[in-house]
Amino acid sequence: MAAATLSRRSFLRGTATAGSLGALGLLAACGNGGGGTPKIAAKATSFPTYYPSSYQDIVAAAKKESGHLTVYSNMDVVNWKPIIDGFKKLYPFVESVSTNNLDSSEVFERYYSESSAHKSPASFLVSGDPGNWVRFAEGGHAMDYKSPETGKLPDFANPKPGLYTFSADPILMAWNKSLLTGNQVPTGIGDLAKLVQKDPGTYKNKITTYDVPATSFGFAIDYTYTNDRPDGWKNLQVLLPFTRPESSSGPMVEKLQSGEYVAGYFLSSTVVLPAVEQSSAVLGWSYIDDGTPMFLRGMGIPKTAPDPATAKLMLDYILSKPGQQQVYNGGFTPYRPDVTSVPRTYQKIVNKVGKDNVLIIGYENPSKSTVDTFNKRWSGYQRG
């Protein structure tokens, strides 16, 4: 596989994982020697034995569709590229996949406002916003499609009809290696709270996390953490007056690298880990020893999808073994149990930090008053 066909990140990671793709059943027909056009006849696409024979009908229906798939997601094109490349190799009749990179909740809001007035162009949604997913699925907006891959996946892969899990991304600690050494490096939330109390000068205004009242992503993390850990609020009460919250991971990582922040807690692995690859000398990271949240990124097909069959193919591809491997190459963490060839999977993290120390951020939809009360408490602590 030529470097040019790989994403920057998977290129940086080396070709180890890419090489393993050739062995996979789904891609067996894909003898792409590099550079040239893939020599695949779509007809020859063979599906795993557990796929129903009627699956070819979906492929046939997709061929009759527009050949374009519009996706609303909260992910960058850089993250999408390996997945789309793999998908298009399998289904070359799909000419283009446009992925809108929106905010987590904007994925839904844009869909609602468009579909109320006319038809939304979106055929596939991916976002890290549990509350909105529950409202989407329970509000009857999701197409109740049963993926043939469901049987190969853990329970949280398909928590509600029409709602599927894209990836299970760990939420991390990160710090600046030049500024924190030895015992100063936090191993978890409780540990950081102790460090902060012991040495306030080093940490005051120099630790960061998600701005919980402002971001649904951050809310979901802190909500799960405080519900699962009895000392959660106590730790946050210590940490928040020292914290400068950011509304996305990007600025957190940039400022950790520059030394403006010395440490960050509850950072998204999808941004931290690629940054570590680029600047491993500066940025350090670890799982959280007193509870590593795992963010379940959701996906689904809206009932109004203009290209529903193509969207089904995409959904099944992402859940498939090669698809989950490309999910890894896109910077996410695959959760399919039989994906073992990549260095970071849900199962490997569970093995590493222990089952009790994994906090799954499930698909919960707390009421508006619960959210408001939670945010008020959080902001109150943050102002000190």
Binding site: V77, S105, E106, G250, Q257, S258, E260, L283
Partner: protein, 587 residues
């Protein structure tokens, strides 16, 4: 430009052999004059109101526009001020805007006088460098400032190593204002330097004959003459900084300072349940503040020359000789240039070629071309560059044309609604970019039949065009006002109607202004992004929205690389335009 050159160049019916009055078709008893004038009025009013009406409507609704079972209410406004501390947002925004305006205008006036009116070494280079921030998106300029002056910035760290502390804090309202002021100085500078070049030298000669020295002339003649451009520049800066998004988003959010735009952005985009009622009522309050400003501006400038023409003059004013003081001016100008725009831009260049850019690691050890490779290896990033150029080119031409017709109707016709037309054309100046984007989004969604336009380049061209209409209008109005009416009268007296007069005579005369407006709009549109935050789709991203997304996703090096690409495109365009324009105006 005298009338004779025009008329000999273009011997149209107005001057041709035997004058034969042309005959004009009339539709419903209205001549084409009336049709064109009414047409442009309707176009401008519809385009300007399209985003505002849905915003006002939403602010009075209990539920999102798209939802069923909604009722009208004033509750959104009540909640805005009781629960969400919006009064504090208003106060912070005003404090920020006032500080920005004062700093920017003081610096700009001082620099304009120094560069244009005094003998100072290197004034030409200073004048050119001063305009650089104009080419750069405020998002990246703010980012460059963090690289240099943030708590861990290069300059901060260097200062701390010498005196032990960092004597400033960028993440405060004054810190935000200084950054924004550097972005705004070029605007005030352009207005003031233009006025200074046009200033009548005989006034200064009069002062000189009374024995006034250079400083006295400066104080008593030159500065008073600068009042109109100062007022106009100050109000423009004030309204721009009231609606700015980048600086409050980057500096203010982490320390809990919200301004108008960041409040709207957070409540409109990022929350799990966006509160549209709150969002819209905040927008309406912002709009009301801005409208007050425009009324203020209109009354302040009623009798002054509203717009300053940036043109040469035959009699060139003598430059003042400040003696030894000129070295003070020289030092001031260069200190500002180096520490204001240049160091942060250098920081951006460095960030674009390094993997990490921090005082903790030698930049030479982490030099990389990855950032540029990322920008150019992804189709959608390349497309965003192409989209920006397309939008800026088409948008600038179309908007300049609409503005040209609007200016001529407003200033050179007997059209009954010419004053309302002018006010409407200038009013988008008070509509913050985010609100414009949200409003157009709602307008496209709810006006039957045009839903398909959402997310296309056409939608962006319309939104960017409406946003730049006031600039285009402002750039052309003064020149139209300078063309003597006797030319119109000459044409009319030989039977030309209003449109023929316009298309045969005025068009030729205002072509230089048209081209100047076109260049200005291109520069504005290629760095514009706030309306696109809501309006763009995956296939219609522009440079600015791509930069915002890369920034939020942590790909900061690529943000810097993209910024450098954008500055390069703008510079090439401005240089080319300069060459072309020079040819035009000399002809």
């Amino acid at each position: 430009m005298s009338s004779s050159t025009v008329l000999t160049r273009d011997p149209g019916p107005a001057t041709g052999g035997t004058p034969k009055p042309p005959r004009y078709h009339r539709v419903f008893g209205v001549g084409r004059e009336g049709l064109i004038q009414t047409g442009i009025f309707v176009v401008v009013v519809v385009l300007v109101l399209a985003p505002i009406v849905p915003t006002i409507y939403q602010s009075l609704l209990t539920r999102p526009l798209y939802a069923a079972h909604k009722a009208t209410t004033l509750d959104n406004y009540v909640r805005l001020f009781t629960q969400h501390n919006f009064a504090k947002v208003v106060l912070h925004s005003l404090e920020f805007a006032v500080l920005t305006t004062v700093i920017a205008v003081v610096i700009a006036v001082a620099l304009a006088v120094l560069v244009v009116r005094t003998r100072m070494p290197g004034s030409r280079a200073i004048g050119a460098l001063l305009l650089w921030p104009l080419y750069i998106s405020p998002l990246v300029l703010a980012f460059g400032w963090i690289l240099m002056y943030g708590p861990a910035g290069f300059v901060s760290v260097a200062v701390k190593s010498v005196i032990g502390i960092v004597p400033w804090n960028l993440y405060t309202i004054p810190g935000m204002a200084v950054t924004e002021a550097v972005a705004m100085v070029p605007i005030a500078y352009l207005y003031c330097s233009g006025a200074l070049r046009l200033a009548d030298p005989s006034l200064e000669d009069a002062a000189r004959t009374c024995g006034a020295g250079p400083l006295r002339i400066l104080r008593s003649v030159i500065l008073p003459l600068l009042r109109p451009p100062m007022i106009y520049g100050a109000l423009l800066i004030f309204s721009t900084s009231l609606e700015t998004l980048s600086v409050p988003l980057l500096y203010g959010r982490p320390v809990g300072i919200d301004l108008f735009a960041s409040f709207i952005y957070i409540n409109g985009l990022q929350r799990s349940r966006p509160d549209y009622g709150l969002l819209a009522s905040a927008s309406v309050v912002t709009l009301a503040f801005m409208a007050l400003l425009v009324i203020l501006q209109a009354s302040l400038l009623r009798n002054a020359q509203r717009f300053v023409a940036v043109r040469g003059k035959a009699a060139r004013p003598r430059r003042l000789d400040l003696g030894k003081l000129r070295w003070v001016g020289f030092a001031f100008a260069w200190l500002y240039l180096i520490f204001g725009p240049l160091l942060p831009i250098l920081g951006l260049v460095m960030r674009s070629i390094t993997a990490v850019f921090t005082p903790l690691v030698s930049p030479l050890r982490v030099i990389t071309s990855t950032n540029y490779a990322t920008v150019f290896s992804y189709a959608s990033f390349r497309d965003s560059i192409v989209n920006s150029v397309i939008i800026a080119l088409i948008g600038a031409v179309v908007t300049s044309f609409v503005a040209a017709v609007a200016v001529v109707v407003a200033r050179r016709s007997g059209f009954r609604l010419r004053r309302p037309l002018e006010i409407t054309a200038l009013s988008p100046q008070v509509v913050p970019g985010l609100i414009l984007g949200i409003g157009f989004f709602w307008a496209f969604a709810y006006v039957p039949g045009i839903g398909a336009i959402t997310g296309t380049l056409v939608a962006l061209i319309i939104a960017f065009g409406v946003r730049s209409l006031p600039s285009a209008f402002g750039a052309m109005a003064p020149l139209v006002m300078q063309v003597g009416r006797e030319l119109d009268d000459a044409a009319r007296s030989v039977g030309a109607d209003w449109w023929l007069t316009f298309s045969r005579i005025l068009v030729r005369l205002i072509t230089p202004a048209f081209l100047a407006a076109f260049v200005l709009l291109f520069v504005q549109m290629i760095k514009e992004f706030t309306p696109a935050v809501f309006l763009a789709s995956a296939d219609t991203q522009v440079i600015g929205t791509t930069m915002l997304q890369l920034w939020l996703n942590g790909d900061t090096g690529s943000v810097a690389a993209l910024a450098i690409v954008q500055v390069a495109i703008t510079t090439v365009f401005v240089v080319l335009a300069g060459v072309v324009l020079k040819g035009r105006t000399d002809a």
